[in-house]
Amino acid sequence: MEIASIFSPVYDAERFGIQLEASPRHADGLLVTGPVTRNMADPLRRTFEALPEPRVVIAVGDCARDCGVFRGAYGVEGAVADVAACACGLAVASHVLATGEVASFHTDRLLPLSGLSLGLDRFGVLFVAVTAVVGMCAMVYRLGYHGHGLSSRTASGILPLFVTALLLVPTASNVTTFLFLWELMAVTSLLLVLADHRRRLEVQVAGQWYAVMTQFGAATILVGLVLLSTRSGSQSFAAIAAATPHLPASVRSVAFVLVVIGFGSKAGAVPLHVWLPRAHSEASGPVSALMSAAMVNMGVYGIVRVGDGLLHGGPAWWWLLVMTVGALSALFGSLHSATSGDLKRLLAYSTTDNIGLVLLGVGASGLFASTGHRTLALVALIAALLHVVFHAVFKGSLFLSASSIQQATGTRDLDRLGGLLRRMPFTGTIFLVGGLAMAALPLLCGFVSEWLLLQSMLHGLPSTDPTIAVAMPIGVAVLALTGGLAAFTLVKAFGIGFLGLPRSESAAFAREVGPTMWCGAGVLAALCLVLGVAPFLVIPAVTDAARSVAGYRTASPLTGGWQVGLSGVHDVLAPGLLAVVLVTAVGLVALVRWRFQPGAVRNSEAWGCGRELQTARMEYTATSFGEPLTRVFDDVLTPSHDVDISHVAESRYYVEAATFHSSLDDAFERHVYGPAARGLRHWGAIARVVPNGSVHRYLAFGMVALVVVLVVVA
């Protein structure tokens, strides 16, 4: 259609010497405008062959070049398969949730020696359900998403495998099955992170960090679980759980610490978090959402499953360790996310922050349990698991909408965005809702879980136990500080990215993304709102999960219905009521304004105070907004600035150009991992001297080994 109109009198392309030819034999080039379907392939090839030499083929638009979203229909089929997998997961999960029965499955054929053994209890089902919901939204989103190498055939094939592994990890019920699925999850996610490695160097670096950290974590998990299974003589989780009370305390402690290290690295807890901001920000949109909203949960799952489920709790220092890690992660993550200028990096650090809060709750729960406060322990565990669920929902929507922005503008640097709310209204609203939940503001889901966590820790204060009396106020302080920083982060991310004037061409010409994309993210954002107003929809399931994993026989400590409260305590949270009050208040104010304000009079500035010509350069940027925080916390954030001024040749007093670079380094990366990597490289260089290529030396190694073996055996 458009092609025909080009040659109409209005555009008249013939004046440029371009002519439509009736026959391919007289033409110089061939114009292909759509995807080459199967029906059209043969005519196209014949047309091409009929062209005189030299042949020129001009492909117009994304569709013709690489089929765009319709790429070989493979991507479409792949996404459908993913959605089907998630739907299956959700169906099984809802069945278990509804009936409470434990589904299990065992076969000896798939894994040698132990057999594949899956079982879904009320704790695991929570994580399966969360993964399934996030996965379905991510897959719907993925239909419209392209770029980042996700449309390659490998990535399309691996994505369903990743989702399946994520869904199956919480169902593994023996050690070998668990480790197998864990590795499957790690490897598939690594391949998905690396999908775009050919085009961008940062992806390779992120992949290296991720590969090293995830393998390190898997190794410690392997050692910890194998230690438990050998000492208890069986590798099924049920048998281990039955045998652990009789194990010596040292074995239990070593296993617990190893497992916390391993799962902590997957959860992105400080100081093992360094892979997370890199991998999550370099991965493609749906993958980063899945990693941040579903995969890090598996770290929490592992710690709770082993600590509470297999070991039945332990001494107070275990849980103080978990609390310390959680508090450090929360503080470090929230500080970095408040100062980062990269949208996805900011969200990734916020993941570290939120997982830190979850670990804080898990640790507090264990600490309460070890000192005999069983009800408080249950409340803290419920709060932590609730935060896992809510974090998955809001972080999923945030990552998906951030990826939409990246696709629409080509950048994720906040300093180059701005004014996007008007250009991308759906994505902007979704980001705002998710961000409000992240900042734990009332009416949204993040608020409920953090409130519950705060309550559980506050009610531990009257305790006479000195450990609790010291740990809980610190926990409360950390929670309060991270809440404030999260609000700061939201103001920065939303204010800089979506309000104001666009700071670059790409932001100015951004267009709303396709409906599947904002729908995928929008469902999660809607869930934020629904769960924030009516948390009783998930609280029973979470309570059951917490009670089943830790074996609590006590009744649910939470009063249900529209209110959330602790039984026996007067503090009650009624988000539904709050919503009604708030909506009424806002409605009243709007009514009053509308009623008493005279017609639309627009005031223009008499004295514009120099702001009549407002440009983007007068606005706050993300960097300047975070500057005060950066200055206050410069010991932790280690900012580095570099001003480069070049002078005009004639005079030093005239500046020709000035460039300014500033970057925030991860303190752990610089002070812990840097020296460690240098040390390893040094030893590697030394070790490389030993095999120098001499055949005789290699043979001598063999001979020496033989002699040593002989002597040792004899």
Partner: protein, 218 residues
């Protein structure tokens, strides 16, 4: 009758070890090949004696194969490889010859000390000769490590294999015929490959010194 078998066994096994020490003490390639041929025949004799003693036709057949392969075929191949233009002597071994002889003595002592347990475990008079086989193996390895000429490397490999075969014959009164056949053919194949490699190296680089291959590293 038993005593005669025993002394015949001791004589042929001893010959294997003496040949090994002789190889360490020599530098002429031609002589070394002859000595290794003698060692192969001696190994075959060990199998032959055991086969006759235990009236085991398979073991006798193995002995014939061993003698033909290790006593005749491989040495002939080696002589042909060392034929045109190859230097006749090992000029600079990594460890000089007197020191090598002392080292072989040490290795023999080591073999006898470390395999006493095995000898006692086997119990028979043949079992008492197991240390001889291990000593041959270690000396073969030593030749592999210290000599530079490719032919010496092949000879060292042969000696390692002879040592292993000797231990196998003595401990278990012979491995099954098929396995021995397979192993022998493997060694033959290995020798052929090494020789082809040596010849190619010589045509490419002239005189071959294995240490010069170090530059191919990395």
């Amino acid at each position: 009758m038993n005593g005669e078998f025993s002394s015949a066994l001791t004589f042929s096994a001893g010959t294997v070890l003496v040949c090994a020490v002789t190889v360490v003490g020599l530098s002429s390639i031609r002589t070394v090949i002859r000595v290794v041929a003698v060692q192969g025949v001696a190994l075959g004799l060990v199998a032959m004696v055991l086969g006759v003693q235990h009236r085991d036709a398979g073991l006798v057949a193995t002995a014939v194969v061993v003698i033909v392969l290790k006593g005749v075929a491989i040495p002939l191949l080696l002589v042909r490889a060392g034929g045109a233009g190859a230097p006749a002597r090992e000029r600079r071994p990594l460890v000089n010859i007197p020191a090598s002889l002392v080292a072989s003595a040490t290795l023999i002592v080591l073999a006898f000390v470390t395999t006493r347990g095995v000898a006692r475990f086997v119990g028979t008079s043949a079992g008492a000769l197991v240390p001889v086989g291990v000593a041959t193996l270690l000396i073969g390895f030593f030749v592999l490590v210290t000599r530079r000429r490719p032919v010496f490397q092949i000879v060292g490999l042969l000696m390692v294999d002879n040592g292993i075969a000797l231990v196998a014959f003595l401990c278990t009164a012979g491995v099954p015929f098929l396995i021995e056949l397979g192993v022998s053919l493997d060694v033959l194949l290995g020798v052929v490959v090494l020789m082809v490699l040596t010849r190619r190296l010589r045509t490419e680089f002239g005189d071959v010194d294995l240490d010069e291959l170090q530059e191919l590293h990395d």
